[in-house]
């Protein structure tokens, strides 16, 4: 539709006018505009609760001058409105720069004029709503019929087809067409007055074919199994234990406890435990950590889609790229936006991300993971006298200024004399990031490696991310308990 695409056109004469307006007034600007459409389907107890269809447009103008930023989010983006509001956005940058203490300049970058289109086998737009509903119904049916103890099921499917354009002061113009989808399953089981929950999700950048992968197909069964298994799980004993983390929890640890501390905006704001530690050994020799949000990671893991946390360019027009964060225990790099890279004399490495056109880019991770080594899981368990095997993640957080972190696992298993014993529920464990990186006593091999996806919150924005790693073992972790 002509009207739908009007916002994405940006003819050369309009771009020339924007460059003219900015000249000698602001040193940098960028514009993001887009059109998204999609569906949300929610069922509970095999009944539809929400079936939604939407169409949204969005456009924002960001401006920069001598340390100060301006940001203008528009309701509509007709050509005239855009030109008028561009002047207002320039005024906003001038206002910020007139008051800011730290003057700096954005490092000039090369213009990027490459487009990207996701290669979906079944485009979301071509899949009728009834087929999407059948998918959700199928998952509801699996969960509801899994056991008589299942008392409540909930399945949510979300998708969006997005057309985006990015322009900047250096002549960058990138058009992107993306498809993003997510399936979420939550199941409650009840027995003898105890209620337990199992929750799983899969997210991807790709077409509807993602829903035919093994992980997606088994999603509701997995949630049901979890909820039932947890009914018999006991509350843990608090204390200090040798703890084995599954790949999901390893990923969470790498993302929450280490990754956020590597975000250069937190480093500049003195909110990181890693200030001044580049080049220092902060972990045992075997620890190497990477952030690599480039498309193509899915293929490496034999998956027929792109990982949920991956992207072509970040929201500042910097291509996604591989960044080595820790190599052989030594801290190598922080992750950067245009601003932090400019201020810390580094090249931007593609981590200026925003969750929509109406939000400003912040320094954010993409796909962050610990590289595998050589232990297998059985060896780790056999080599543990008293410990806990923790699997799956409920949530986690970190105090950035001290590195004190805390994670809550979904299901855990007690280990005694090298053998798995009873199941435990709601095990939480915590520690100090820099201590724990040195208390890792085993890192799993390639076969124990996996990844998970989720939405990470920072500064009011939730952004799609992935993290991962192998199973690892950590000695002397503090475990919280009720007894």
């Amino acid at each position: 539709m002509a009207e739908d695409n009007e916002l994405l056109l940006f003819p050369d004469d309009l771009i020339d006018q924007l460059h003219d307006k900015a000249r000698n007034k602001v040193e940098y600007w960028d514009i993001r505009a887009g059109l998204s459409k999609g569906n949300t389907i929610e069922f509970s107890d095999e009944k539809s609760k929400e079936i939604t269809s939407y169409l949204l447009t969005g456009c924002s103008i960001r401006t920069f001058n001598e340390g100060g930023w301006g940001f203008r989010v528009l309701k509509s983006a007709s050509k005239q409105n855009l030109l008028d509001e561009f002047d207002n956005a320039i005024k906003l940058a001038k206002l910020s720069s007139s008051l800011c203490k730290f003057k700096f300049h954005i490092k000039e970058k090369d213009a990027l004029t490459q487009d990207f289109k996701i290669n979906s086998k079944r485009k979301l737009e071509d899949v009728d709503i009834t087929e999407k509903i059948e998918l959700v119904k199928g998952h509801e049916s699996i969960a509801s019929n899994y056991s008589k103890l299942i008392k409540n099921t909930r399945t949510i499917y979300l998708d969006s087809h997005v057309n985006l354009v990015f322009l900047d002061a250096y002549g960058t113009k990138v058009n992107q067409e993306l498809e993003i989808l997510r399936l979420f399953s939550s199941v409650y089981a009840q027995s003898k007055g105890i209620i337990q929950n199992g929750t799983n999700s899969i997210g991807a950048v790709g077409g509807f074919e993602v829903m035919n992968t093994e992980k997606a197909i088994s999603l509701s069964k997995k949630s049901s199994e979890q909820a039932i298994n947890l009914l018999n799980a006991k509350s843990p004993l608090g204390g200090s234990f040798r703890v084995i983390l599954d790949s999901k929890l390893t990923g969470t640890f790498i993302h929450e406890a280490l990754g956020h501390a590597c975000e250069a905006d937190l480093v500049l704001n003195k909110e990181s435990i890693l200030i001044g530690k580049i080049g220092e050994k902060i972990a045992i020799e075997d620890v190497s950590v990477i952030d690599d949000p480039r498309f193509g990671q899915g293929e490496k893991l034999n998956l027929p889609y792109e990982l949920f946390g991956c992207y072509f360019i970040d929201e500042e027009g910097t291509p996604a790229q591989k960044t080595v964060i820790i190599k052989h225990g030594v801290l190598q790099n922080f992750i950067h936006s245009l601003e932090t890279a400019s201020r810390m004399n580094h090249d931007p490495n593609g981590h200026g991300r925003a969750n929509s056109n109406s939000s400003k880019p912040q320094v954010r991770m993409g796909f962050t993971f610990l590289e595998p080594k050589d232990w297998n899981l059985d060896e780790m368990i056999e080599d543990t006298k008293q410990g806990i095997l923790c699997e799956d993640f409920q949530y986690g957080y970190t105090d950035p200024t001290t590195g004190n972190f805390q994670f809550k696992c979904r299901i855990s298993t007690k280990i005694e004399n090298g053998e798995k014993k009873e199941n435990l529920r709601d095990v939480s464990f915590g520690g100090m990031t820099l201590d724990v990186l040195k208390k890792i006593s085993a890192i799993g091999n390639e076969s124990t490696f996996n990844y998970s996806d989720g939405i990470c919150g920072k500064g009011g924005q939730g952004i799609r991310v992935c993290d991962g790693g192998p199973y690892i073992r950590i000695d002397d972790l503090t475990v919280g308990g009720l007894n």
Partner: protein, 458 residues
């Protein structure tokens, strides 16, 4: 100013298009939302970003004769897009399953409560240049402080307008304003090199109530109180929850647990506990939407139902009518909605949310709560949340201190607490007359007897 759209005209157009589908449609709702805001951001204790934005859009909720719900939304406000949204909502509705629990959308109401000070013209006319003074005050005080090394902070002001029209002829239109200021300060002990953060915020409907000095002072106090942390041994001890601690450990979990949707699905630890004592007689909680000028106050909810002041828990007893309802969950129970329908924006279907959620204060001074504690814990903040289905809570004390002989002592490092909320409610043995308000929550200090503390000192 960007273009103006006549929303009533668009809605009339939308309802006319809906008439084509009368045979399958039971009722429908047209929701318009407009939000205009400005925001100034501080990083590294320096002004970093000035932002102005606006968002407006409409959604259509169509419910079929079998109770099936179809929903669509867009921010393209023209007749063509509305037609497309109407068609989509009908298509979505026809694709859904039967839902005999759906009764009806709200009928028109004869009257609405009067609540003052929900809209401030000074916010509507506020220029971004004039809001700089608020953040300058934060920067100045942080600069002056010996231990503060950095601050991220924010001032935001917004106005919103919601219009709700439904096929039962309910029609409401209202404007609200909002402003808030927040400060996250980093302090460093120059000798030991330890760092810590402290956070505080204030949100209001009326601009002149914003007090930057109080916000930064509280953030600094909290940051300093959390410096030089020490490990302790595991023990059972009394704890005092600060108002912030009460909000995270008691009020937020209860607010989630009395959400009628979770409740009806039996997902919460308070299921089957109505009309029972669920804790000590110190707990009285109400959800009051009718307080003049309060952030959680409103005249009507997100479906146009008049808001109320509701008692939830009275002297420890969880009241029969102590659930928060929207029209769907109320219909399912055969009662009237409590006026707690809530939506983030036009882009969401109504869920259920609190108004002003208040744990009533006590009669004694806060200092008296500490007096007879020989050894205990002060808990200001935990990032953890309880398991809502079981009420089990095991979490890290992110900001907390040792209490020794009635005095607040060193900050806690790597210390956790473990309990079940129903156990904790029973052990509340006193509360202070002083209380604090954070957004839509209000709480006093509470003292709780004998809680398991897990320390990391061996």
């Amino acid at each position: 100013m960007e273009h103006e759209v006549d929303i009533y005209q668009l809605a009339t157009h939308g309802f006319n298009t809906l008439k084509k589908h009368e045979s399958s449609l039971k009722c429908a709702e047209f929701f318009f939302g407009l939000n205009e805001y400005l925001n100034i951001e501080i990083e590294e204790n320096s002004i970093k970003n000035s932002e102005i934005g606006s968002d407006e859009g409409v959604s259509i909720r169509a419910i079929g004769r079998n109770g099936s719900l179809g929903f669509s939304f867009t921010n393209r406000l023209n007749k063509r897009s509305i037609d497309q949204m109407v068609d989509n909502s009908i298509k979505m509705m026809q694709s859904g399953t039967q839902d005999s629990d759906f009764i009806n959308l709200p009928q028109p109401f004869n009257s609405y409560p009067k609540v003052n000070d929900l809209y401030d013209n000074n916010i509507q006319s506020l220029k971004i240049e004039d809001s700089i003074d608020y953040v300058k005050e934060l920067i100045r005080i942080c600069d002056k402080d010996d231990l503060a090394i950095s601050q991220s902070a924010n001032f935001t002001a917004s106005t919103s307008r919601n219009i709700i029209l439904n096929t039962n002829k309910l029609e409401v239109d209202n404007k609200e304003s909002f402003c808030s200021i927040s400060s996250n300060v980093i302090v460093k002990d120059k000798i030991k090199g330890h760092t810590s953060f402290g956070f505080d915020f204030q949100s209001e409907r009326i601009l002149k109530k914003i007090n930057p000095m109080s916000v930064i002072s509280t953030a600094l106090y909290k940051a300093k109180q959390n410096l030089n942390r020490t490990k302790i041994k595991s023990m059972r001890a009394p704890i005092i929850l600060t108002p912030n601690g009460v909000i995270s450990l008691i009020l937020k979990p209860i607010a989630s647990a009395i959400n009628a949707e979770s409740f009806q699905h039996k997902r919460t630890f308070l299921v089957d506990k109505r009309n029972e004592m669920i804790g000590s007689d110190q707990i009285s909680i109400s959800d009051n939407a009718l307080i003049d000028g309060a952030v959680g106050s409103a005249i009507f909810d997100a479906e146009g139902v008049p808001c109320q002041n509701k008692k939830i828990i009275e002297n420890g007893k969880f009241l029969d009518r102590g659930l928060l309802h929207n029209s769907y969950t109320a219909g399912k129970e055969g009662i009237e909605s409590s006026g707690n329908a809530s939506r983030h924006s036009y882009a969401s279907i109504p869920s259920i949310g609190i108004s002003n959620f208040i744990l009533s204060p006590g009669k004694i001074a806060k200092t008296a709560l500490f007096d007879d504690i020989k050894k205990g814990i002060l808990l200001e903040y935990t990032g953890d949340r309880p398991n809502l289905s079981t009420g089990d809570f095991s979490g890290l004390i992110l900001h907390g201190n040792i209490i020794e002989n009635g005095e607040i002592g060193p900050a806690l490092n790597e210390t956790m607490i473990g309990t079940n909320l129903l156990e904790l409610f029973k052990k509340i043995d006193n509360k202070s007359s002083e209380f604090e308000t954070f957004g839509s929550y209000q709480a006093p200090y509470l003292r709780i007897d004998d809680i398991q503390i897990i320390g990391s000192q061996t």
